[in-house]
Subunit: 602 residues, 2 copies
């Protein structure tokens, strides 16, 4: 399409964006108007994509990190022939054209955006997937200028430079105005140039409303050996005098009268003939398999170590499996993958936010991602994990160093909120193995099932509890001890399962009989099975968990058992934990065998 | 102290760090050895502080962002005369010398560190507090090189430059080695220079083991008009040949034999005479008061608006009150503070992580901070909020745009995890007002009580439910409707309180009587009061909350009521919410009046 026509397309996208948001009576028209030329050149000239198949592996990828500009994306997808929906159904309950882009509603959207500063990390993952699979497609990410204040942007650029992702093109729509006023740097483009050059990118600075300059910057970007950043100086509300470059117009649709006036200010070109270039198919780069011998677990070992060894075994059989880690792979044991299949290990450094977004991008391009760090540090990427869930992603996360059982390092290193974080996602699975066998089985399970999966591992070595043949179905639990005489159930998970067993043995010597349940699957959970069991065991349950009381296993069970007359005692970490030996801390914070026994006797 | 003696002090700090970690049998000696000269010059020459009083408002402040180097900090505090503890009690249960620095144990530590990349944001807050109070003290932050991969570092630098914090000196201990190998840039100092200059800092590059170069860089930094970054090239494990600059020695103490050998490699100087310079007292800059008339609330209004107006009224009376906001102050209404007392409003831009760390720094320097953004976006700063709680901080947070009730913007903008995040902190308070009166009272309450406080506000206007004279004590709830004939309790909070009231009125017409409870205080909660009430109301409770089912009000109540025969129905947001009108979404996700009625009739 020639420049004249591309300019006309930009105008059509502008008109649509104004009409759509007025029809919706909400939305962000001015944020669309500033990037109309950029969107026109990308969708109608630059990008190669199969309008019939959003999952064509050779499609160029586009991520609208400034998700509030959704209307112009929908308009571009409409005119390119990718979607046929009525644009004026924007933001309606029955319409897939939601307020911010979300994959659940539109298959052309790969990642949910709207929590700003996350699109670039997803783009890094997609660009990296092209390198790994030797694919020619490019990844384009459109950022707003306000979101460049988010640190996640610089985490992403650091990794993009490190892995030489010259197939990643970041375009920043510098329209000067944020939601409530001017951005930090306004139109001081120099500041942006310094920052992005400082992060090792090839930087082009252009007039974002010049089709010619956009085309030439994209042309030059093809020869870059570094990630490309195009700084596009634009005007918010461009093209409509009474809103152009004016403050106070963020997230405000025009009323019907203003819309009429606005449309009079804009030309009304006829729709050019549109032809989208389809990408040439490239054949997949096969990564060679390499069998490693299966580990046998018959002696004390830490679940984190078994996680790593199992992952390495899975990686050797599945070239699509990738392990990502935040600079602690020798603690989470994901380093086992690096040692076996180095090309299937992605060092993500201490940048958890980007690590999660990057994993999302990789998973959306067909990789089976396992992302690990200390359980505590997933709180650093909680918002990215939230958006991964909103993106209906299939990803596995593993948090090591759970709870006070890590010992001397102290509170900042203890994962005490991770169960709450991962339980609080739609369609998530939360697993918490207590020994080597269950860890091996559950890690393998995670490589097969869809959704967001979380595996919580423990730092210290724990005894083997199960036979190698034991199966660990989703939505179930194990009864490790039980007799007709039981008058209560001691419930444990991970480290506390072993404390429950110790308590059982001590109590037995005193001729007090209790059952012991191991909750290896925290979510989903089979409450009715537990209720039936409790009814036979004196309707008394004692739960100990190495986690905060809020949002963990205790509250999950309490809710499932509400209305029954089953008495629940919940032992969890209430205070800010101190440094000390594991044994001392389990005792001090009352989740050890003695605490089980004391609360049973109360 | 002269250079010779400073070098000797560095050696003594090294010897102590090795001995302490060997005694503890855990810890990070090599990470201490790389910064020994830096710590020596800072604590024994550069910094002015009152060794008798860690809270002397004129003390220079020091933050060890690389918290795992805690031993060398404790050693420096010991030799400066600030603490008298036995250094070899490091990491013991009864010792205040914890694995990572934490204020609860040591008053010389202002902020918990150990989750990397957070110390600089705290430093930004402290440096900003000096500017606001016209104090002369400087803030020094020591970073590791690995943690410069964290985006929060760049959020902090951006804000430090924006607010011209030339009283903030960041020193980066570039020892090349991270936990599991080399950092992204290793000893390529050029890369660091580019990045930090790009963020508008004055950058000095020095040999981090040269006392002379450290002194001269600190001298030059005094004339800088910009934030200062000192890039100190160092060697991990410096001074002990068999660990110096060697990989595989992160977080590993020496065994007794290796310690003996190591100490032989180091000189054994006698302790120099130590004299710490005490800062000159400066008198506080009084910020002028300015009364504004109290608002009266007698008609439909959004709780977020009342939050902002109340905050503005409080700010006008209290010069120590600060409002921070993440570029959405016109949505959270914290902009009201800006309009009334602009000098008490800190624009933090879209950088939630730094906003929270900065607020922590400000609060530790005596400001009463109120930090606001969309409820959803506190998930972006979950780790910083966690560390604020570990820092025993007194801070208030307010999240607007809670839940699906925001309407058309869609899932990424809906706060559905915030109650779980803020409930899951030690000693936190969680408030959820449903009308203007309760919002005004609870916001005022937050300005008075200590701890981490959270106020959840709602986007849309809601009717007034209470008299201006109504009081809202902590750990209580309100019974809005009740009669002898009640056969159940409808529990609401925020938006759902109004749905419960609608349900009550509809049911009354059908001659079905129910009580309505408004949970304005989610944490702490008075379960026994609710149990007594439920016993009089048919032992049936229906709870609807505009939040995920996990970690919210339903699980909180279910746990508190476990073992009773009170039946609980819990209505919450299970799925990924769609865009739509508020009314449509409350209905679709079954937390509206109809849902209350339907589940009562089941």
């Amino acid at each position: 399409m020639n420049m004249k026509k591309l300019q006309n397309m930009a105008t059509i996208l502008r008109r649509n964006s104004l009409e759509m948001t007025t029809a919706a009576k909400s939305g962000h028209p001015t944020s669309c108007l500033s990037c109309a030329e950029i969107m026109s050149v990308l969708f109608f000239k630059e990008m190669k994509y199969d309008t019939k198949n959003p999952n064509n592996p050779d499609n160029d990828e586009f991520i609208l990190s400034k998700g509030h500009a959704a209307p112009i994306l929908y308009s571009a997808l409409y005119h390119s022939g990718c979607i046929k929906n009525n644009l004026n159904s924007l933001r309606k309950l029955k319409s897939p054209l939601e307020g911010h882009p979300i994959p659940r509603s539109l298959k052309w959207v790969k990642a949910a955006t709207g929590s700003l500063g996350q699109g670039l990390g997803v783009g890094v993952g997609m660009a990296l997937s092209a390198k790994l699979k030797r694919k020619k497609f490019k990844t384009f990410v459109l950022l707003g200028d306000s979101e460049t204040a988010e640190g996640s942007i610089y985490e992403a650029l650091e990794i993009a430079s490190k892995y030489k992702l010259n197939n990643l093109i970041t375009i920043i729509d510098i329209n000067r105005l944020g939601q409530r006023g001017e951005t930090i740097h306004g139109h001081n483009i120099k500041k942006y140039i310094q920052k992005f050059k400082g992060f090792g990118c090839r930087v082009f600075s252009i007039d974002g409303h010049s089709v010619k300059e956009i085309i030439s910057a994209l042309k030059k970007s093809k020869t870059s050996s570094k990630p490309v950043v195009i700084l596009a100086k634009t005007l918010k509300g461009k093209g409509v005098p009474f809103i152009e470059n004016k403050n106070g117009w963020h997230g405000k649709p025009l009323n019907d009268d203003d819309l009429k006036i606005a449309l009079r200010h804009l030309p009304n070109p006829k729709l050019p003939k549109i032809k989208i270039k389809k990408p040439k198919p490239t054949k997949e780069q096969k990564i060679k398999e390499q069998k490693i011998k299966e580990q046998v677990y018959d002696t004390k070992i830490s679940t984190r170590k078994v996680y790593g060894e199992t992952l390495a075994a899975l990686a050797s059989k599945d070239p699509n499996l990738l392990a990502l880690d935040g600079e602690v792979s020798n603690s989470t044991y994901s380093a086992e993958v690096k040692e076996t299949k180095s090309e299937q290990f992605i060092e993500s450094y201490i940048a958890e936010q980007n690590m999660v977004s990057m994993a999302l991008g990789l998973s959306k391009k067909g990789f089976n991602t396992f992302t690990s760090t200390f359980a505590a540090f997933f709180s650093r990427a909680h918002d990215q994990i939230r958006l991964a869930a909103l993106s209906s992603a299939n990803m596995t996360f593993s948090g090591s160093h759970a709870g006070v059982s890590i010992g001397e390092d102290g509170a900042s290193q203890m994962g005490l909120e991770d169960l709450a974080i991962f339980r609080g996602l739609s369609n998530s699975y939360v697993f918490y193995p207590s020994d080597g066998i269950s860890t091996k089985k559950l890690t393998t399970l995670c490589s097969k099932i869809k959704g967001i999966k979380y595996i919580r591992t423990t730092r210290s070595n724990t005894p083997i509890l199960y036979k190698p043949s034991e199966e660990f179905p989703i939505k179930s639990f194990k009864i490790l001890r039980g007799s007709k005489k039981d008058r209560a159930i001691l419930i444990g998970a991970g480290i506390t399962t072993h404390e429950a067993l110790k308590a059982h043995d001590k109590l037995k010597k005193q001729n007090i009989h209790v059952a012991v349940v191991d909750i290896y699957c925290v979510k989903p959970f089979n409450h009715s099975k537990l209720i039936k069991l409790a009814n036979k065991k004196g309707n008394k349950i004692i739960i100990a968990e190495d986690h905060r009381p809020e949002g963990g296993i205790g509250e999950m069970i309490a809710k499932g058992l509400s209305g029954t007359n089953i008495k629940i005692k919940h032992l969890a970490i209430e205070d800010i934990p101190h440094s000390g030996k594991m044994k001392e801390l389990l005792k001090k914070y009352k989740i050890d065998s003695a605490a089980y026994i004391a609360s049973l006797k109360k």
